[in-house]
């Protein structure tokens, strides 16, 4: 029974305990080791001694003592000044009760892991490892790279944090907007990595989406007065609500218009919709709020034919105007095709391909092909489908495009 309690504590609290130890020690590896040791000690001692009054504080305290022991041993061998100071700081008596700064430890850690001086892939890996507690093997499998590569990526990132003295703190107000963007980009990337691909380990991919939602939820709770965290959370929930209907059991892609809407997760949709409203009430909408609003329009339509494409087109136009990017332009063109007809959409797509920015992106020829097909220009559609097939990297998407190609020829 006590072992169950420790297991639960590990799942629910080890991330927060780790964050606190990283703050105290300023050393990711040492913190990870002593937190593991503290849980091992709990498994050994609690069955005899019973559950401590405050298990979390006991674990933090035990991990702290283990760290002091290790640093003492290290200092005996080398007279490193910084470790001596770290040791002195640690030995100052800490209150037995819960540190009021504990809640902020995780927030600080998010900002450290997502610091812009780390490469994006390192930010993502570090976030999954330290904040979500995924193992190096799991992260490697999720990103389809060898475990050794992922391990090295993590080692390098942790080394840089220490060597370059990347601060462990919530950024001051003047840096906060920029840093918030970086954090949210990482959370979104974790989600899309789990959501977009249908290849790889399905379990791990589901886990990535769940972790991204958990992170967005925590970000919203930790920064309650900002508009973008609820918008990001809403966007993730609304996308995720459609997960099971997005592919067949065989792993083939199912388009939004063909998905079984009865299977969409209504609880997630309800929460997402109320979050979108909350986000939109907090001043001018940011990029996540606009995308969440678009997702909300889709989920409100009981059938695909009921979709309010006029509103979606207007939202994409706003997104394109305020946060322009070639991918947004592509989506806007598709929405125009739905609300004003394929010819109007095709004109926009053609001018987009003329700009050449998306020449490597398979969804541009795929979208063109679809509009050409609907206009009855099958030969041109086939050419565009072939182009899209050549550029697609995801197996399920390639199969889908090949099916469409076969239909037009």
């Amino acid at each position: 029974m006590i072992a169950d309690a420790i297991g639960r504590l590990y799942r629910e609290e080890s991330g927060r305990i780790l964050a606190t130890l990283i703050r105290l020690l300023g050393d990711f590896d040492l913190a990870e080791e002593v937190v593991q040791e503290a849980f091992a000690a709990a498994l050994e001692q609690w069955p005899d001694e019973g559950l401590p009054r405050n298990p979390r504080a006991w674990l933090v305290q035990t991990a702290r003592h283990r760290a002091i022991d290790r640093l003492r041993r290290r200092v005996r061998f080398s007279e490193k000044v910084d470790e001596l100071t770290a040791l002195q700081a640690l030995e100052e008596p800490a209150g037995e009760e819960e540190d009021p700064g504990v809640r902020d430890d995780q927030l600080r850690l998010i900002f450290t892991c997502c610091h812009p001086s780390l490469a994006t892939e390192a930010q993502v890996a570090l976030t999954l490892r330290t904040l979500c507690g995924l193992s190096t093997e799991e992260i490697a499998r999720a990103f389809l790279v060898p475990t050794a590569t992922m391990a090295q990526r993590l080692v390098r990132a942790k080394h840089k944090i220490r060597a370059a003295c990347i601060p462990y703190r919530v950024p001051p107000p003047e840096l906060l907007p920029e840093r918030m963007d970086a954090v949210m980009a990482v959370v979104y990337l974790v989600f899309t990595e789990g959501y977009a691909a249908t290849v790889g380990d399905a379990l791990i991919r589901r886990e990535l989406c769940a972790e991204a939602i958990r992170l967005a939820r925590r970000l919203d709770a930790l920064l309650p007065d900002r508009g973008e965290p609820p918008a990001l959370l809403a966007l993730l929930l609304l996308h995720d609500s459609r997960r099971v209907t997005r592919s067949t059991p065989g792993g083939d892609l199912v388009l939004l218009e063909d998905q079984d809407r009865a299977q969409w997760d209504q609880a997630q949709i309800a929460e997402g919709l109320s979050l979108v409203e909350r986000a939109l009430r907090r001043g001018p909408p940011g990029p996540y709020a606009l995308q969440a609003a678009i997702a909300a329009v889709h989920t409100r339509a009981p059938r695909a034919a009921d979709t309010d494409w006029r509103q979606i087109t207007a939202l994409y136009a706003l997104l394109l105007q305020r946060f322009p990017s070639p991918v947004v332009a592509l989506n806007h063109a598709v929405a125009v095709a739905m609300s004003e007809g394929p010819a109007a959409g095709l004109r926009l797509l053609d001018s987009l391909s003329a700009r050449g920015e998306l020449s490597k992106y398979h969804l541009l020829p795929a979208a063109r092909a679809d509009l050409l097909r609907r206009l009855g220009r099958n030969e041109e559609a086939a050419t565009a489908y072939r182009e899209a097939v050549a550029l697609a990297t995801n197996a399920a998407e390639r199969r889908f495009l090949e099916r469409r190609l076969a239909e037009t020829t």
Partner: protein
């Protein structure tokens, strides 16, 4: 914590500037240097002469080989440096962003490896 701020700018662009422009930038550098001396961040710093004056030295098999020019031909060249004391990387990058050359080229921020004092 000490950071080396390495300023990379295009010598070609610099050569194409007018005398007045160069004078203006020189003034900005002086004001910036004064400011970080006053705030206690400054440890050292200097502009460098152009890479056309550079010499690269290598010792190969005990023999010194001296060649004309910089270590590598790049689009932007190392044109000067500051050595600053900063609390952490955020403070160092904030100082780097105030260097006039950051607007024309780039500034590489490198933490200095602290060596233990020999006893």
């Amino acid at each position: 914590m000490e950071y080396m701020l390495l300023i990379y700018n295009s010598e070609k662009e610099r050569a194409s500037m007018s005398e007045a422009q160069r004078g203006e930038i020189f003034g900005e550098y002086r004001a910036f240097t004064d400011a970080i001396v006053k705030s206690g961040h400054f440890k050292a710093g200097a502009p460098l002469q152009a890479t056309s004056t550079a010499t690269t030295v290598r010792v190969k098999g005990g023999k010194t080989v001296t060649t004309d020019g910089p270590f590598a031909e790049t689009r932007e060249q190392l044109g000067g440096y500051y050595l600053v004391e900063a609390r952490d990387l955020d403070e160092a990058t904030a100082i780097a962003a105030r260097i006039p050359g950051a607007r024309f080229g780039s500034v590489e921020v490198r933490p200095v490896l602290q060596m233990t004092q020999p006893r």
